[in-house]
Subunit: 687 residues, 2 copies
């Protein structure tokens, strides 16, 4: 029986099937990985002396097995792996290494998820055991977010019915909700990491193959030679992020602002022919230039991250995520920012300057009048802001969901059909027989499935995280404009969770079950958005809530009023955040408690081993043990000893002037009765 | 030889001398305390099996000995102590329990400190070994602060010479310095705690005797019954701090603001007779009412803290410190705040309203004109702000130092003289013979020293901390007004450190050498003041830097300009703080590194014990061990096994269609050459 088999793949690729040569070796690898986890402080409990006991007590999960096999294939040879690095170096012809889907499990899993309203602890454990902690964290986060969303959905609906938009009450409650959700998740995340036994795993993550070291030093912890890259050099390179962020903001910002200005010009100034067609012009410009620009900037971000030369894949990914977040932030929120804080307050000032866009419409306009705004009576479009928010929070979400699940499915089906037709035609022409020609009939179905999976993309959990974080941003930053935002997100996310499960099971290759001990840099993004929400919400409320006439050039709005509102709102936000953090810190996390208890037990066992059971118990509880009670005999012995050695120093004589407890008491009583004439009675005791 | 002796004390008090009955018992106690530290995770290294080895390797320090003896006397009897609680319960006649000063060491120590410019690591270790970690932390903090002060002193001097006051450059650099100092100390503090083996010691601190529990629960970590007080109830009581802070602010604030208003009225409006005497009126009011009010509020804070019912003395002290900080904050900084942000910008508006104070001066004034401000031409006093800052940063510091060291010394000398004279007179009259009458001539000197020490106050390190933190506040909040602040503090603190040492050695009873793992709640105060400095400094610069005419009603100052300046300054501050935190987090602390290394070594030893030396090394380093290399024989065995069991399932048949490495390679090559007609060559590898 072989442990490798080769078959034809599609597009002239070769499928090489590999399986582990011996279960024993895999077990040894699992045991070793667990011992290492314990050595680096990820596991609390020391591994059992005996490998078999260890594996019996804690069976190998699917995720553990696949992760270790993947690592065995990709780790460098001096780390004990085969050193196969797909798509780079001498292995550049290796397209990818992936495990095959467990069809039966996947079907049952998706069916189970879609039949449930909420996922429980066991569901997450199952995801963890199958797809690894990183993906389990995503699902757990999504579920927590979904459950938390019920509150802004209900409260938002009530506000929408009762208070209308721009309600200060909604803004305050929403800000509070953002704080509580973010802080809750911070705790929950730690707890899950402990529960799943991966706390601190980010510290011992796998090395990046592309890491370049500039010197070798002795690891201060393990005492071994390790390769390092100067953190000062890296810091210097990281500072390049600042010009990058500025350049990206300027590039994306001017594109969006430009399109925005054209849109306003055409929709609200221009009144010539083809107006309804020209209205699409900004969209067309955005559709053409935005992807190009984003791709360019993403490429630049990738280069920058590579230049920063991180040692571990985790640090590399986190640095990349941070850069991408900047791009996402601008493209997702800038349009609304422009409408709310530039268009509405300053429209009257800006619109007259838009005549530069006359250039665009000059060939079409019949006269100049069509291209200039009426000098008086120009009115800003009051619904623009709300419409924009609805677009981003409803339409865009639905489009996104469709793009994620339905479009790839349809595309795949169509491509498959096309391929079949082409292959058919080729076969009829008597050309190449296609990859299926050599298939054994018994294997045909299986190989078909494998070829399909080889065609799929790899699953990237960061895109899903990004989607959710950007969504959270709309809620925290702009939902005061349209309080139904929460309702829309609640519905969307119920489907999103199932859709993502479907995507993993059907639309992507089986992901490598990586470990993680948190949602990583996204937590920072959540806090940032939540904080920024305290600024934007208060500003929006101040700017818009008082105008009864909706098409308002805001009347009694002053610069210092706005700034004071923002300043107050932000500091109240920070104070409440501080309070919530303190209060949550008081509540002990069950996971951390368990961890401490485990540690304590281990130590107590050790103590019992070295000092005996009874003494260990007493020492731990702080009781007096028999051995320590001051017995009369020891005192007498000390006294006898002193008598034997004679009355030496003045110190000795001092202690000997009163012999024994009884005499001391009598002398003391004598002093007291002598002093009875005076009123004050203060006893001083000294050692 | 007795282990307790009684002698007459002063003021009808009794001096009871106690010493430990047997060195052996003390040693057992030390060992037990070390084992407990290890059990609760304070010590990294497991204690040696043998008590003697442990004590040999790590000798008992003076601080450890005194702390444990003090605890043995004060701990409750079920914790193994004698349960003596000075001044409360059945022990209310026990005035205090203290160790006697080591005169020889103290003299050498003070001489050593005063002869040195800087203290080194060994000096702190000595302080730690003698006076405990809590006091060592204070000295170490003071030294770090002193060293850091050299920068604002030099830079401030340069600014004072070159740029004058209210320089934006100084404000920025000063803010940056505050951030770096605070963040540096955070790291330094952790490092010291690890170095001194007390990290996490605040978690296992001694119980408060006054703690009242409302139920007993099983400790989730140790599994023992412990007494707890509902954290929700405590939180509810802690919320009382908010009304307390508001009430205290109002009470102290209105007192200070009232005196401030009277002062302005008299100095700048009133022009009648006795003006120079009346100018002292506010000072007199403050001197009378301020101490009363402060005492009242402190008493209230004490009650509140007791109500909050903390379990450990540390938590209790921290809660008290927070409340006292509020009081200190108001009384220290409010006067300057009033001048800078109320008097200067709004003087013209407020001064006319001050006529209510005419009531005070009416009896003195000769006519109404003397009591009203000139309608036009009223000018604010431009130097008031600077003078005030100089008063607080120079005069008050000197007065403070004198009050701390010189006044108690003089008072004590005078009281002693008075007492001697009285005793002499009483003796001559043939009355009471005084406490010295019964003294053995050999002991007379010693008892005299003891009686003097019994008269001294206990040393409280929090007052010294408070002084330094309040001082830091002047630097961060107001030094932009007078850049020489740093110079004054640098000189003051050099003396302060030596003065505090002198105080501990001469002016107070020997302190109980408590342990601590940080400077506690003061760190929060430092961060708070540093942050607030970013607001006040920017506001001061904005308000004052542009007026060339110093007696300015600031002309081009706008509300939104001021707010925007503050907003910008604060956010730049927070961003830089975030950056500095990130950068400092990159630098590994040597203490934490050592701790991790210790942990690692312990684990590796354990691993070597259970799995053998060789394998432990290999497992830790991630190398391939002999036992794991895939040998040819295992594969052959697997193949033979499969042959024996026959060609069962389709899966088995799949794997068996290609036998061995060689065949697989040949077939693969065949597939490739077949596909050579096509261009694309992509290899897929699957497991």
């Amino acid at each position: 029986m072989s442990n490798r088999v080769v078959r034809n793949g599609e597009s002239c690729a070769l499928l090489i099937f590999v399986k582990i040569a011996s279960e024993k070796h895999l077990q040894a690898e699992v045991y070793r990985s667990r011992v290492q986890d314990w050595l680096y402080g990820v596991r609390t409990n020391a591994p059992q002396r005996d490998m078999e006991t260890n594996l019996d007590r804690e069976p190998v999960t699917e995720a553990e097995r696949l992760r270790l096999i993947y690592l065995l294939m990709t780790k460098s040879s001096h780390e004990g792996g085969a050193g196969i690095t797909p798509k780079s170096g001498e292995w550049k012809n290796v397209e990818s290494i992936f495990a095959l889907h467990d069809q039966k499990f996947n079907k049952a899993w998706v069916a189970q998820l879609t039949s449930k309203y909420f996922l429980g602890e066991n569901d997450f454990k199952e995801i963890r055991d199958r797809f690894g902690e990183k993906i389990a964290f995503y699902f757990s986060f999504l579920q927590s977010y979904f459950l938390f969303l019920t509150f802004p959905a209900i409260f938002g609906f009530c506000c929408w019915v009762l208070l209308g938009k721009y309600s200060p009450a909604y803004a305050i409650v929403n800000g509070l909700w953002c704080i509580i959700f973010t802080e809750y998740w911070k705790k929950q995340e730690t707890d899950l990491a402990v529960q799943w036994g991966v706390r601190g795993v980010s510290k011992i993550q796998r090395h990046r193959a592309a890491f370049k070291y500039d010197r070798e030093v002795k690891d201060p912890v393990t005492g071994e030679q390790i390769k390092v890259f100067s953190p000062v050099k890296r810091l210097a390179r990281q500072l390049l992020q600042v010009p990058f962020a500025i350049a990206a903001s300027l590039a994306l910002g001017s594109l969006i602002a430009g399109c925005f200005a054209i849109e306003i010009f055409i929709s609200e100034v221009y009144s010539g022919p083809f107006k309804s067609y020209l209205a699409f012009l900004p969209t067309v410009i955005l559709t053409i230039f935005m992807p190009t620009l984003t791709t360019m900037l993403t490429g630049f971000a990738t280069k920058l991250t590579e230049l920063e030369n991180y040692q571990s894949t985790d640090a590399h990914e986190a640095a990349m995520v941070q850069k991408i977040f900047v791009l996402n932030f601008i493209s997702s929120y800038l349009p609304i920012f422009l409408t709310a804080f530039v268009y509405v307050p300053f429209a009257q000032l800006i619109v007259p300057h838009l005549h530069i866009f006359q250039l665009i419409v000059r060939p079409l306009a019949e006269n100049d009048k069509q291209m200039t705004s009426p000098k008086v009576g120009f009115q800003i479009n009051p619904d623009r802001l709300k419409k924009q928010v609805i677009y981003f929070t409803v339409t865009a979400q639905i489009v996104n969901l469709a793009m994620e699940v339905i479009v790839p499915y349809v595309t795949r089906k169509v491509f498959k059909k096309v391929k079949e037709v082409t292959a058919d035609r080729a076969a009829r022409r008597g050309g190449g027989l296609g990859p299926t020609a050599d298939d054994h009939p018994e294997e045909a179905d299986f190989l078909e499935r494998v070829r399909n999976q080889a065609d799929l993309c790899a699953y990237d959990v960061t895109t899903d995280f990004r989607e959710m974080v950007v969504q959270f941003g709309y809620l925290s930053l702009f939902s005061v404009i349209w309080p139904l935002t929460g309702v829309s997100f609640l519905i969307n996310n119920w489907i999103e969770l199932r859709g993502d499960a479907l995507k993993i099971a059907m639309e992507t290759q089986r992901p490598v079950p990586w470990r993680a001990d948190s949602i990583g840099p996204w937590l920072g993004s959540l806090s940032f958005l939540s904080w920024l929400g305290s600024l934007t919400s208060s500003a929006l409320v101040y700017l818009f809530c008082r105008e009864n006439a909706p098409a308002g050039t805001p009347g009694d709005i002053t610069g210092w009023g706005l700034l004071l509102t923002i300043l107050f709102s932000e500091h109240i936000y920070l104070a409440i955040q501080f309070g919530v953090q303190k209060a949550l810190a008081k509540i002990d996390s069950p996971g951390l408690q368990k961890e401490r208890a485990d540690r304590y037990v281990v130590k107590k066992q050790y103590l019992a081993e070295i000092r005996g059971q009874e003494e260990a118990r007493a020492m731990a509880s702080g009781e007096v043990t028999r051995g320590e009670a001051i017995s009369k005999s020891t005192i007498e012995e000390a006294a006898r000893e002193s008598t034997l050695h004679g009355h030496g120093t003045p110190e000795k004589r001092f202690w000997e002037r009163q012999q024994g407890k009884a005499e001391t008491i009598i002398i003391g009583k004598g002093y007291i009765s002598k002093a009875m004439s005076s009123d004050k009675k203060e006893t001083k005791k000294e050692l």
